[in-house]
Amino acid sequence: MIGAAALALIVAIALMLIRALSGPTLYDRVLAVNSLGTKIILLLGVIGFLTGRPDFLDISILYALINFVATIAILKFFRYRSFQVSLSRRGKDGA
């Protein structure tokens, strides 16, 4: 059962990888990286149950936080070309 879940996740990761490798636009790649990160986190949880150590779930929660922060940083970079602008401010020259 858990093996089937791991297999499904591997297939999903392969699909995301194809999109990240071929993705014509930047946003395809950003989206592919973000959802591939999510699949990796789920795979970590599955590995935990596969080896009989469910405490791997804690590690995958930390990975989820890192993945989220990295995606926000990438998107913010593309909006402002800099990390030093606060997210709430709307710059006059925008992107």
Binding site: I2, G3, A6, I10, I13, A14, L17, A20, L21, G23, L26, R29, V30, A32, V33, L36, G37, I40, L43, L44, I47, F49, L50, T51, G52, F56, I59, L62, Y63, I66, N67, V69, A70, A73, I74, F77, R81, S82, F83, Q84
Partner: protein, 206 residues
């Protein structure tokens, strides 16, 4: 230790799959010319290799890889891209073949070195007969921290770790002094010079 029968086989298959993904991503990084795609793919590489480290029971290494590789260095690479161009120049001639030869030679030497290593979990290996066993026996009665790696890193080797933190802090300080912040940062200066040059070009044309 394993959850159910056949779990060892499943873990072996997972290891092989993760290594295949790493291989594909590495080849793609070497072949692509768009720097943004390379940054995204190196983030993927770090996350996948961190997962592989967890599957190999090296949880602390995996966490460092995820935080530094997927988090910080993606942001740093993007920041560096502001200062340079968006695509890499194609290599030609000797620069194309020499790195490949170096990598193959290094890999062959490393594979040759693994022949001498003791088997995984071998009770007679140096790691399981020397100080390792002593740490396993003494750590819990002495400082009552269940994770031996954490205990060694933060307690037995505390001064060494403090020195490392100092070195990392100084490196970060030096980098931020070089690159600067806000109006006077290197990125802002480069952009300002670009703008001035563009205005000059326009004036010369008109």
């Amino acid at each position: 230790m394993t959850g159910f029968e056949g779990a060892t086989l499943a873990i072996d298959l997972l290891n092989i799959t993760l290594l295949t993904i790493l291989f594909v991503v590495a080849i793609a990084i070497a072949r692509l010319r768009s720097l943004f795609a390379i940054v995204m793919l190196s983030g993927i590489y770090s996350l996948v290799s961190a997962t592989w480290f967890v599957a190999l029971d090296a949880v602390d290494v995996a966490f460092t890889e995820a935080a530094v590789g997927a988090g910080i260095s993606t942001a740093l690479f993007l920041g560096a891209m502001v200062l340079t161009s968006r695509t890499a120049k194609p290599e030609k001639g000797a620069t194309k073949i020499v790195p490949l030869l170096v990598v193959i030679a290094t890999g062959a030497v490393l594979i040759y070195a693994t022949i001498d290593l003791p088997g995984f979990g071998d009770p007679n290996s140096p790691a399981n007969t020397g100080v390792g066993v002593e740490f396993l026996e003494r750590t819990y009665p002495e400082i009552a921290i269940p994770n031996i790696v954490t205990a060694v890193l933060a307690s037995y080797r505390g001064f060494d770790t403090l020195g490392e933190v100092g070195v990392v802090f100084m490196a970060g300080l030096a980098v931020s002094l070089l690159l600067g912040f806000g109006e006077r940062s290197l990125g802002a200066t480069v952009r300002r010079e670009d703008r001035i040059n563009a205005i000059k070009d326009d004036e010369e044309e008109s």
